[in-house]
């Protein structure tokens, strides 16, 4: 697949990963097989890491808890960021882990069934890691937008049904 189409395919999938290969093929003007092969190749290369749904848990009446955790670490000759990150990232409670610039080193998103679960996880699993010097936990109170999707009510299409 030519580079331009390949890029467009990735962009379209990043926007909506559920589109059937047949639709993607029509939209990009290539064959369905080409799309399937390319998606497989992109998965093999690690460009496409996975596909998940954006869920509004509140709408689903599921009171799970989520927190952003700032983590400070101190490095030494034997330990680098990657090693620490790897150790934290393995916990399934950690849904996102990034190294950031500024006042702290790692930004974590931690999910649990309750605030107690999240607190316990941070204090028992994250804080005790020897290189970690400090954690600051911010519980999510309400969510308005996630991964490009607004959590509010959508806008109605107010256009006239037929117009010039």
């Amino acid at each position: 697949m030519e580079e331009e189409k390949r890029r467009e395919l990735v962009e379209v999938l990043a926007d909506d990963a559920r589109r059937p290969a047949e639709d993607l093929a029509r939209m990009l003007g290539v064959s369905t097989d080409e799309v399937k092969d390319e998606i497989e190749a992109l998965e093999d290369e690690g460009v496409l890491r996975g596909y998940t749904a954006v869920v509004d848990w509140e709408e689903f009446d599921d009171d799970r808890a989520e927190a952003y955790v700032e983590v400070n670490v101190s490095l030494d000759r034997e330990t680098d960021y990657v090693e620490i990150a790897d150790r934290i990232a393995r916990f399934p409670e950690v849904t996102s882990l990034t190294l950031v610039s500024g006042n702290y080193d790692f930004g974590l998103v931690v999910e649990g069934d309750s605030m107690n679960d999240v607190s316990a996880f941070v204090s028992e699993k994250v804080a005790p890691v020897p290189e970690i010097t400090q954690t600051v936990t911010h519980f999510v109170m309400d969510k308005y937008k996630e991964r490009g999707f607004s959590m509010g009510d959508g806008d109605d299409d107010e256009r006239l049904s037929v117009s010039p």
Binding site: E8, V12, R19, D23, R26, M27, L28, G29, D155, D157, R159, L160, S161, V162, S163, P164
Partner: protein, 388 residues
């Protein structure tokens, strides 16, 4: 006037213009619920948030007065610099006027440039407002049909065959509403030649210029000897999905734009101020939004064209705007559209509404979400299989 009866009072040039055929179809569509509409002539996106936000900020800071007649200076400067992308060079000082939608600009041009008895050639199928606009201005419209075989491009021969050599002006829209046709620089040469030979003023409605796929938009005003006889129209409605904010502009020689401004200053005074602030922001910072929308339209266009091909509805590859213009199987576009609406609850506009050359076709707008488009195409497929 007798007993409140106005029939004798309505001006003849208004009375004689029939209501738009679109209107009738709109009323039919409104009678049904859950219609998937491919009949909408405007984007399904909202204006880019940063443009909307600029409008809000302008209101918050009390920018609610009139602007200069021709529009805010900084907006005209942004327009001048943006127009250079299409090779158009116009002075913000006296060659640009900001109007209340392209519609106002076109109306100003009809009234400013033509006298009663003048003839204005109108390339067809056409956006529905040009012919009535010519009539309201007291001039006479002359239909210049384009043909499906030419992919609805305007040609030298089409102008000649329609007898446009005696016309005073020509108006067209490319990329075209309703057909989605575009014209390349090469293809515009014949039009330019005809207009130079026969001394026609050209009103080039280029409101869909930035919705061109697989090629670059070409403006007739960039051809030899054409700038001096052309007024180019563009606006924010389609490119920036700002139809409701009503903002357009015209680019032309200072005499023409000055004459248009003469009417505008007495009638409209200035285009909506909030919209002007939105437009400045749109031109400065919304290029990426436009490109994203364009790419999305293009994917939908591909989707629709490939489905039409499989359904067996003959359709040339429309490379502009957000319309395709397929042939209906038996050539009766009115019945096809009405039955499609009744049986399948899919609205598309019969081509004959758009004038000569449009009969036997259907205007389908793909300015609608992909899932709806897909569903509409499924229904059309079933409809065609059952009825034709």
């Amino acid at each position: 006037m007798k007993d409140g009866n106005w029939s004798g009072e309505i001006a003849e040039r208004v009375r004689t213009v029939p209501p738009s055929g679109i209107r009738r179809f709109f009323e039919l569509a409104e009678e049904q619920e859950d219609v998937i509409s491919l009949g909408v002539g405007e984007p399904d996106f909202s204006a880019p948030w940063s443009a909307r936000e600029a409008g809000i900020a302008s209101l918050e800071t009390g920018k609610t007065s009139y602007t200069a007649n021709r529009g805010r200076r900084e907006l005209r400067e942004e327009i001048a610099s943006d127009a250079r992308r299409h090779g158009l060079e116009y002075s913000p000082e006296d060659e640009i006027i900001v109007t209340t939608g392209v519609s106002e600009g076109v109306d100003l041009a009809f009234r400013a440039l033509f006298d009663p008895g003048d003839t204005v050639a109108v390339a067809q199928p056409t956006y529905v407002s040009y012919e009535p606009g010519v009539t309201f201005a007291g001039a006479e419209p002359l239909a210049v049909p384009t043909r499906a075989e030419d992919e609805f491009k305007l040609t030298y021969d089409a102008l000649r065959d329609a007898g446009a050599e005696n016309a005073d002006g020509l108006i067209y829209c490319y990329p075209n509403n309703p057909t989605g046709a575009v014209m390349t620089r090469e293809e515009l040469r014949g039009v330019a030649e005809f207009c130079r030979e026969n001394d026609l003023v050209v009103l080039a409605d280029e409101v869909y210029a930035d919705l061109t796929y697989g090629g670059k938009h070409a403006s007739v005003a960039t051809l030899d000897g054409m700038r001096e006889r052309t007024v180019v129209f563009n606006g924010f409605s389609k490119t920036y999905a700002m139809t409701g904010t009503r903002l357009g502009y015209a680019l032309g020689p200072s005499d023409a734009v000055g004459a248009m401004n003469r009417i505008h200053q007495y009638t409209m005074l200035s285009a909506p101020t909030t919209a002007q602030y939105m437009a400045i922001e749109a031109l400065r910072r919304c290029g990426d939004d436009v490109e994203e929308m364009r790419q999305e339209y293009n994917r939908r266009r591909n989707l629709v064209l490939s489905r039409l091909d499989e359904i067996g509805m003959d359709c040339f590859e429309a490379k502009g705007a957000f319309y395709v213009f397929p042939k209906v199987p038996d050539g009766d576009d009115e019945t096809f559209a009405e039955e499609l609406l009744k049986q399948e609850e899919v609205a598309a506009v019969p081509g004959s509404v758009f004038g000569e050359g449009g009969e036997g076709h259907l205007r389908m707008s793909y300015a609608t979400g992909k899932d709806e488009l897909k569903e509409a195409m499924d229904r059309i497929e079933g409809f065609v299989a059952r009825n034709y």
